[in-house]
Symmetry: C2
Amino acid sequence: MVYTDIATRTWDHGWRLDPIVRSLLDTDFYKLLMLQLIWRRHRETHATFALINRTHGVRLAEVIDEAELRAQLDHARGLRFSKKELIWLAGNSFYGEARMFAPDFLAWLADFRLPEYELRTVDGQFELHFDGPWMCTTMWEIPALAIVNELRARAALRGKGRFTLDVLYARAKAKLWEKVEQLQQLPELALSDFGTRRRHGFLWQRWCVEALKEGLGKRFIGTSNVLLAMDHDLEAIGTNAHELPMVAAALATDDAALAQAPYQVLDEWRQAYGGNLLIALPDAFGTAAFLRDAPEWVADWTGFRPDSAPPIEAGERIIAWWQAHGRDPREKLLIFSDGMDTDSIAATYRHFQGRVRMSFGWGTNLTNDFRGCDPDGATGLEPISLVCKVVSADGRPAVKLSDNPAKATGTPEEIARYLRVFGDEARAAVPVAV
Amino acid sequence: MVYTDIATRTWDHGWRLDPIVRSLLDTDFYKLLMLQLIWRRHRETHATFALINRTHGVRLAEVIDEAELRAQLDHARGLRFSKKELIWLAGNSFYGEARMFAPDFLAWLADFRLPEYELRTVDGQFELHFDGPWMCTTMWEIPALAIVNELRARAALRGKGRFTLDVLYARAKAKLWEKVEQLQQLPELALSDFGTRRRHGFLWQRWCVEALKEGLGKRFIGTSNVLLAMDHDLEAIGTNAHELPMVAAALATDDAALAQAPYQVLDEWRQAYGGNLLIALPDAFGTAAFLRDAPEWVADWTGFRPDSAPPIEAGERIIAWWQAHGRDPREKLLIFSDGMDTDSIAATYRHFQGRVRMSFGWGTNLTNDFRGCDPDGATGLEPISLVCKVVSADGRPAVKLSDNPAKATGTPEEIARYLRVFGDEARAAVPVAV
């Protein structure tokens, strides 16, 4: 007997839109931690975020219909945190800490909505800007990326037959499970999902997270996606991002203040959070410069998240710095999250095993690796390097140097000024994979 | 929104049984062609069929619950040909012929039901016999095999998690699609599904057939499964099987009659059917003997289905025979169906290309290849060599010699007598893969 649920079929007919983002919790956990800090200490700061497609060869506006993009962005703007979500944020513990989010912050969050956006098409690419109070615009980063990436995937899949889709997802599942089996070889692995921003789609990310939970057991320590963490009783993972030092640097009134900006941000952070949240991102303006000028108390922090230098090189540099400051690296934590995949995870794990605590944030190659899966052999599902970065704060241009010049953002003049202040030591261009 | 169809869930709760065979058309087409012949010309003959598990290492009765097996066999006994099915058999054309099945035969079929069975467990194996009029017992072969194979698969899958099952089927789909892509390299391929008897399960066979239809286009010429042929508007494929010469040989009253039995069967067949249905199975008592003693008119037949010798060796022998009889092999057809998989299909195709017409019947390695697919690494899904053979006719023992002694059936005394009559030329033991 073929049973068709007529009510569901009829409901499906009437869909105006299949929403990509259906909850404001469908974002990365670090956004909420940073948001609380921004809301408490930088309520007056304005910040503009912009979508940046580093994969120039993919002309997004020729792939994605602008009206569809608007419809998805508008749908996200209609979202509010639900009562259940706010209760969970208030009642759940994060990184072993209860009451991570203060009642006054949560009360403000209850009325939060995503601010307006500016969208136009220029030369085959989207110019998508979010302009307004930092504490509002910061929240666009993840939904904007998730929406654009999933619209691109949907465009690549449009017109494919029911059967082709079936084979495509079967291959993707088989492929991911091969990766899980590779990772099972690493007994002390600690790995989390960092793939929200680059995901193929929400349902696929959820499948990937379920795969890690099933296949890696306690080696899978959680997900950056707050909604998935809530729905699946997983740990929400994440600390802070480049936007904090970038905004602080943009607002610096002179070169001396600029040089101090990265540490001023960490000082604010340690007043707000403790323990395993004391993870520094060293590469906003070059890791070598950061370590060279860091105050002694930075060595007391739990660890670092090198995010743009090759992982083994970055880890060795940081370990040497800890040792130079008399700290035992075996008590410290390195979090690797830059374009990782199973091979680089295994190589890094084996290289540092026993010398330092490690965890891995796995992004694009977890939630968006469909390479070789399309029976039609098309390439529309190849992941692209898409970011949503702060480009100015209170009208002043924001800059990221990064350890990898290919990941730098900002105007050429400002980049030149930052290079004068921080130096260019040990920066090296590496192709940005994803 | 999670939508649960409560009515369906409630219906599912109440299942007493998930039936494996749900239609009498869920059988191989050759059974119906042979049945019409048996019904018309051998109505009084009795024949006993028996399940034979050639994979002795798998103790089926320790894997499958006897009560479950009885429940499935009983369910199959409750089936009748439905009105729609009989109308389709009457109105559809097969091998380009309208009215393949006569009205009086179809009228008899309307009341057909599978006869009783005898089942007991002996030393970890099932003894499953079907005893009665040949025109009734012959119809048990395919459902009995499908039921035992699927029950074994279900036992192997029992207790696996929802996710493990998901990965397992994803891998199996990806694996089959790799095979489809290999076969796409053979432009003139003609391939059909022969996998009903050895299938993992009905739904999986259906998926495999859909995969071939989608991936091979006109290279996929049809399926032996009559139900799938009807439901998917495919050609039903098949001609005749070893049981015809085996019963004729069993009934032979002396050695001279025994030596003529294989040709007597073909003579009956050519009176009933024509064209592409004139395919001889040469190996029941050894291909060399069959060709040596064949009357001249056998060389007028459309082709042969060598079913137990290595395909290239068997094909060369038959081609040489056609040439010796002045026939052009390029007008003849060879059907290869013995344990084929993509490599042997490609090798055979390339070997004979341009020299003879070919088609391939793909069985176990199409519909039951889960090797390497189980995330738990268990082997319960490895296919086994299970057959359901005629063992006696009118109380006289039936024998198959085969080109491969490993596939022979019958008592040692009778096999010795048959070897005296037919000789042992060119028979060679090859491990029976599946």
